[in-house]
Amino acid sequence: MMVLYDGSFEGFLTLVYEVYYAKLHVSAIVKKMPERLVFERVYEILSDETKATKVLHALQKHFTKERQRTIFNIFLCDTKTHEHSLLEYIRIGFKNPKLLGNITNPHLFYIQTLEKELLSLVHKMYGFTRFEELEDGTLYAKIETKFNILPFLGEHFSKRLGKIPFIIHDMTRSLAFVKDESSTQIHSIASFDAPIYSQNEAHIKELWQRFFKATAIQSRHNPKLQKNLVPLLYRTYMSEFQA
């Protein structure tokens, strides 16, 4: 049967609960009611904190730390339909954790591959994220990414930016990771004013663009290779590609 849930992690955990307690046979999981239905029953999941918490505790008990992280990570891949495979992953994990390594099962292979895709995106964005300095010294970065990787970026840059306050703004999801002296949080951003940059910002950006050009070797010119390594969709906020 087709199952409808609200797309939240809590909703998904409730779904897992219902699968076990209401003995659902799931054929598909959707976030939105499809426009046309042919003879199919739809079971709607209503997010429920108590049920979700129960499942969360069970996950914490039966899955290793690393595999719990896999489950959370998969959920950050919010532009992929991973729910059915994730449900299978959890089902197999409860039954016999040893089988979770069996990548000849298409669901488990999908989960493993998707997590790698996420982590490789995270790794790329560790490099490709660009900060700009605001008037008050805060560093501000805009990103547009396929998956929700703010938690990763936030942790990564907290380690390397020391005491400097910074904001990473996910333009696609209207979320922002904000770190200042007193707090570290992910906010949802309803609207924002165009920021005012520090006096030095334009100059440093120009230096960077100069460096970027000067360090390329003409006789090895290979824009195709460059495009493979920094595909166009990453370049939106990388100033070296805007000159």
Binding site: L99, G101, N102, I103, T104, P106, F109, T113, S120, H123, Y126, G127, F128, T129, R130, F131, E132, E133, L139, A141, F157, K159, R160, L161, G162, K163, I164, N200, I204, E206, L207, W208, R210, F211, F212, K213, A214, T215, A216, I217, Q218, S219, R220, H221, N222, P223, K224, L225, Q226, N228, L229, V230, M238, E240
Partner: protein, 410 residues
């Protein structure tokens, strides 16, 4: 005429660009609360230039003034080019400004020889001191050891930097004498030997070191080059040897004529592939090539080796141990890991391998998977060569980065 920082950066980045290394990997995460900068074990690429090389570090010379006259070098004293120098403070500030904006992982600092070796090394160290002590900067720093500078200075460099290097420039003493009369093999290797000894006394984990040699400016065979690399990996505890396809920038009686000379990119690519085989795949240099031989241009070194050792094949991927599997052409470490993981659960067929997104393009000629093997061509060298050529189109395009895109290692 006084140059602005922008002019200096343009000139000194341009002069530094022929150094290949840009890796920022291999340093453990050294996060300290409230301090600026932190290294990342796998290294991070921050951008890629129009030649497809990665930018991980701010790679500049402190100065392009040089008292040496090396034939192949753009900064040799006999060249009439504009000369300039950063002050250590200018460069430190620039590094911090770039780092804060996440343009770079850190600094790669080299220099022409100003006045003498010790003077130059001291200036490099002064830059490092400002970064480490004043700015409390913990990001990645790679510094060139100036051959001929004193032991004390080299000692200090190993304390301040994450990686030190000294380029051996050319693959033999003979070529050095011909093209770089101010340098000798002993002089170039001595700072690396000092650095190794010093850091071994201090830690059980020695400081990471690398070197670079120019390929195609002199007459050595690939066999000579790989033999040298392999002995450097074993003796000097080098982490990496970089190969740099010779790019003609000068006229010289012992060098190829610039107008007629294209950088030998494919040869460079093959050397990197062979280097990978040395470091990660358990091959020795004399397995890869016979004396005086060069690497094959048509086939990658692993395929070439396989074609000469057909008695080693076919390999049963359901039972063979890891170190045997990694000798199969067309299968990299990642594919092998997937196979090892999956075969615990079932006997794998060709179809299973395809399901696991493992490319069989080359590998299928060399493996057995359950009852599957490639029936169309038997293990005869000539037939296999033809099959490999026809299905693969032409020669594989040289991309330096095919194994390194994820880790940021060049």
């Amino acid at each position: 005429m006084k140059m602005t920082v922008t002019d200096k950066l343009t000139l000194l980045a341009d002069s530094a660009k022929y150094d290949v290394s840009c890796s920022s990997s291999g340093s453990e995460n050294n996060y300290k609360t409230g301090e600026l900068g932190c290294t990342h074990n796998s290294g991070i690429c921050h951008s890629f230039t129009s030649d497809g090389r990665c930018i991980s570090l701010l790679k500049v010379l402190l100065s392009n003034i040089c008292i040496y006259d090396c034939a192949y070098c753009i900064n040799r004293v006999s060249n009439d080019t504009p000369r300039t120098a950063f002050s250590p403070r200018e460069l430190a500030e620039l590094t911090i400004n770039f780092y804060k904006r996440n343009y770079i992982e850190g600094l790669f600092l080299s220099s022409g020889i100003i006045k003498n070796e010790d003077h130059t090394m001291s200036l490099l160290l002064q830059t490092l001191r400002i970064l480490r002590h004043e700015y409390r900067f913990n990001g990645y720093i790679h510094v060139k050891l100036i051959p001929g500078s004193s032991k004390e200075l080299i000692h200090e460099a190993t304390l301040l930097a994450n990686r030190v290097s000294s380029n051996i420039e050319l693959p033999s003493a003979k070529s050095l004498a011909l093209l770089a009369p101010d340098k000798s093999k002993e002089k170039l290797l001595s700072p690396l030997k000092h650095a190794r000894d010093i850091s071994l006394e201090r830690h059980n984990k020695p400081i990471s070191m690398s070197t670079q040699m120019i390929v195609g400016a002199s007459s050595e065979s690939d066999f000579d080059i790989l033999k040298l690399s392999s002995s450097l990996y074993q003796k000097a505890l080098l982490k990496r040897v970089y190969y740099s396809a010779y790019i003609a920038v000068n006229h010289h009686k012992h060098l190829p004529v610039p107008e007629l000379c294209k950088p030998p990119l494919l040869r460079e690519h093959r050397l990197y592939q062979a280097d990978w085989l040395l470091r990660f795949y358990g091959f020795s240099y004399d397995e890869i090539l016979n004396e005086n031989e060069n690497l094959d241009m048509q086939f990658d070194p692993k395929t070439f080796w396989a074609l000469r050792h057909l008695d080693f094949f076919p390999i049963d991927i359901n039972t063979a141990p890891k170190e045997v599997m990694i000798r199969i052409p067309g299968l990299g470490i990642r594919s092998i890991l997937k196979i090892l993981q999956a075969r615990r659960f079932k006997t794998l067929s060709f179809e299973d391998l395809t399901q696991l997104k493992i490319s069989l393009k080359k590998a299928r000629y060399f493996i057995v998977a359950g009852s599957d093997y490639y029936r169309a061509s038997h293990l005869y060298e000539e037939r296999l060569k033809l099959a490999l050529i026809h299905q693969g189109g032409d020669i594989i395009q040289p991309t330096l980065f095919d194994t390194s895109i994820y880790t940021g290692e060049l």
